[in-house]
């Protein structure tokens, strides 16, 4: 019971912290404007003549790549820089509760941003008859993707007291996880390793680390167990690594 109580207390504080500074508002406005711009102007939503959300969700991996690390970089780096980590970790909470509380708060915040894109859904409903199931699956897939990016950002935030460093490393890791399964990158890897067929496992291994195939399969409306397991394992792995990093820090 203590576990839930403490996680909830940290969750609430962390979620409030977003709104007690301008960060939340800047983030929400930029996220909504960017997704709308990419969907309607760049993606030519109206011209495509199709009442579905594919052209909307297509951009999420790229928008998240920049914005999720920005939302996550503060989580631990700021605690370390200001020394409040010493306060937090000498209160009667476990590290797991603190990590989970922060992670869930940031995820809830990202979910709020995602929910606020509802006018896009309303627009497609007005224009035609989109498959609601596919649209909801799209939202669910985007929600999971945000959680996966966030877990990477949480880890890089725990590794440094400098938010900019956390942001940059997190963007690079997310870019890698995004591109690893992208055909141009896998083609390159296949060409590099073509003389060494014994290395094929490496190419498929790297490719299967990627967010992309899992994201795309959920976007098609198929919620398969293996995709859920993929996201769950990425998130759990990253949270576990965060735990290790914080446990082994030398000082504040």
């Amino acid at each position: 019971m203590n576990f839930i109580h403490n996680t909830k207390a940290i969750f609430k504080r962390e979620l409030k912290a977003y709104f007690e500074s301008p960060v939340a508002y800047v983030f929400l406005v930029v996220f909504l404007m960017l997704t709308a711009f990419l969907t309607f102007a760049v993606g030519r939503f109206y011209e495509s003549g199709q009442a579905d959300l594919r052209g909307f969700f297509l951009w999420h991996p790229w928008v998240y790549m920049i914005l999720v690390p920005a939302a996550a970089m503060r989580l631990w780096a700021e605690e370390r820089r200001s020394g409040t980590i010493e306060l937090l970790l000498t209160l009667p909470v476990t590290l797991t509760e603190a990590i989970l509380g922060k992670f869930l708060a940031a995820w809830a915040f990202l979910t709020l941003a995602l929910i606020l894109t509802f006018p896009v859904l309303l627009t497609t409903l007005y224009l035609g008859n989109p498959d609601i199931g596919v649209a909801l699956a799209g939202y669910f897939g985007s929600f999971l993707l945000a959680g996966a990016y966030l877990s990477v950002g949480l880890l890089t935030s725990a590794m440094t007291r400098n938010q900019v460093i956390s942001f940059v490393i997190s963007v690079v890791v997310c870019l890698f996880l995004l591109l690893a399964g992208w055909p141009p990158v896998t083609d390159l890897l296949i060409r590099v390793t073509q003389d060494h067929t014994s290395l094929n496992w490496l190419v498929t291994g790297v490719a299967s680390l990627s967010f992309m195939p899992h994201y795309e399969s959920i976007q098609r409306g198929v919620i398969a167990l293996r995709d859920l397991a993929y996201y769950a394992s990425v998130i759990i792995f990253m949270l576990f690594a965060t735990h290790l990093v914080l446990e082994n820090r030398k000082a504040a």
Binding site: N2, A17, E20, S21, S82, T84, T90, P92, T94
Partner: protein, 246 residues
């Protein structure tokens, strides 16, 4: 009661704390003295469960900080060095958060936050954002957090650092007022503070305890039976020649 047993902390090749052991009973105010970098903060961080010791442990009212960290943390109120606080929060919200983590809820939570605000003289700034407060108020906000659950053990790392003389006076008065009911440890390098509030002092240098006694006992340790400052210099400068400050 607080018992520290053979604490060691090694950062790479640096032996920051090297076999520190002592006991503090209820009613005592223990002054932790030492030059900067002597290992005072590191020792306090190990007692409060922030840093894991390389070896050794501390037992807080029967709860071992290594094997029962949460039970031990429940017994402790801690004011870390430089009084870190969440500066985006208001004073009252910050204290409510601390109270919630400390297991208070409903009206008990409001009451203990109000009591802490009163004890730390924060009424004037209770709804102010911490980022707008002066150093003295931030210090007292963090102090309020440390005492709000009325902990039997209170550990304060340089509680009067950076305060003006009036604020120092207030903090010392608060420490003296609470002393009979608690185990209190304060670290400081202000020697007059030791004489003002501490019933016992430990001098620590290069990670080792070099003296442990009442301020009066410590003073007799130099030939010139001078001030506490002479003793401090004699014990912590090691082989470096002593220069008399006139």
């Amino acid at each position: 009661m607080l018992e520290v047993k053979e604490l060691h902390k090694q950062f790479g090749s640096i032996h920051a704390v090297n076999g520190v052991s002592f006991k503090v009973e209820q009613g005592e105010v223990l002054g932790f003295l030492g030059p900067n970098g002597a290992g005072k903060s590191t020792t306090m961080r190990m007692i409060t469960g922030f840093l894991p010791p390389t070896s050794g442990t501390a037992v807080v009212n029967g709860h071992d900080v290594i094997t029962a960290p949460i039970a031990a943390k429940n017994q402790i109120g801690y004011l870390p060095e430089n009084a870190p606080v969440y500066s985006d929060m208001t004073v009252v919200n910050f204290l409510r958060f601390a109270a919630e983590i400390r297991g208070f809820s409903g009206s008990a939570r409001l009451r203990c936050v109000d009591a802490a605000i009163e004890k730390a003289h924060l009424e004037k700034v209770r709804n102010q954002s911490i980022s707008t407060l002066s150093k003295g108020y931030r210090q007292r906000t963090c102090f309020a957090q440390a005492i709000l659950h009325d902990p039997p053990i209170l550990i304060m790392d340089e509680p009067t650092d950076g305060l003006d003389p009036n604020q120092k006076h207030v903090v010392r008065a608060m420490i003296r007022e609470m002393a009979p009911r608690k185990v209190i440890i304060i670290s400081t390098h202000i020697l007059e503070e030791v004489e003002a509030v501490c019933s016992r002092a430990i001098i620590i240098a290069n990670g080792r305890i070099v003296a442990n006694g009442t301020p009066a006992e410590l003073k007799t340790r130099t030939d010139s039976h001078g001030t506490l400052e002479d003793v401090f210099r004699a014990l912590t400068l090691g082989d470096e020649p002593l220069r008399k400050v006139s």
